[in-house]
């Protein structure tokens, strides 16, 4: 890891990843062991993702990492480290996770609820615009 690198997210043991496909798409997990340049063993004992080999193509690296996770740790150890670091809470409080949750919520809204959102957004826009105009004057 040269010091002048611009990269901050690495495929490394302890890296928290977001799954993009498969039955656990949308869940996060932790890299427990790197198999090769295509796959890693991931584990999510606190997020419902069973230990499995997973291709890098189907996951996204997050900025979170579980510090000092030993290489090839079993599910129990991973769970201990993840809980200690508060990784899940950190993920859930991140803007990324919140945006995902909001998008998911929006997708399940009914027609009437979508209409109400539109009304509220309109009123917010109106208030902001008026406040900006008042501040400018």
């Amino acid at each position: 890891m040269p010091l002048d690198s611009n990269f901050t997210r690495f495929v490394e043991v302890g890296r928290v990843v977001l799954l993009k496909t498969g039955p656990y798409a949308g869940h996060i997990a932790v890299i427990a062991e790197i198999i090769d340049h295509n796959r890693a063993i991931i584990d999510g004992p606190t997020t419902g993702v069973p230990r499995q080999a997973f291709p890098y193509r189907h996951l996204t690296l997050t900025s979170l990492a579980v510090p000092k996770l030993p290489r090839s740790a079993g599910s129990g150890t991973v769970k201990k480290y993840v809980e200690e670091a508060g990784t899940v809470a950190k993920w859930e409080s991140s803007a990324w996770a919140k945006r995902r949750a909001a998008a998911e919520k929006r997708r399940t809204l009914s027609d009437f609820e979508r209409f109400q959102v539109m009304i509220h957004k309109k009123s917010r826009r109106d208030k902001v615009r008026k406040a900006v105009k008042a501040a400018k004057a």
């Binding site: 009914s110 027609d111 009437f112 109400q116």
Partner: protein
Amino acid sequence: MARKELVPGIGRLSRSQVYARRQLYKGKKTGTAPAKPEAAPTKEVQVKGSKNGGSRLVPTSKAPRYYPAEDVPKPKQSRKTAKPTKLRDSITPGTVLILLAGRFRGKRVVFLKQLESGLLLVTGPYKVNGVPLRRVNQAYVIATSTKIELGDFKADVKYNDSYFSKSEKKRTRSAEDEFFEDGKPKEKESFPESKVADQREVDKVVLAAVKKTEYLAKYLKASWGLSKGEYPHQLVF
């Protein structure tokens, strides 16, 4: 039995097999029709001429002089009957529907009841979005999950299919002649007063229920449409 068809028009079993399975040899089971007074097979006719015996017995109905040489094939009797239209499960009285066709397409309306013909009776309400009491086909409608609490309100039985049918008028002359009868266009007929009253009566209940929920009247007034990147099959209604 023979109802299972190999291909349309050809049953699985032959006529005699069906006969055996249905045990038709026992005789057809039918209800007894009320006995008609039997007409006399013959009647007495007076015959003129002294040598003809005065009167003769003649059959009341003459035997036909002509018999067809070949059997006339009878057309196959259809056993199909039209089933009443099934109302979609998602549509119950008070459901907000989105109309997709007709002059009110895009409007959100309130479902009242299903008519005998299978069409849906809906109302705007008229005061809210200008949609009157109207019949629509459920195929051209999106049912939303929004329901208006109508309580035990039931649309009157008088709102049936004939309520919406136009009165049949006999045209004697061409439509143009009739329209310009006195040299100027005919006055537009006013909407019947009774229908205005009906609309008001039905909408009274619906409007009262609509007012209970915030933004609901505004929602019904607004039209529905798709914008970029919105696909109806991916939306939740």
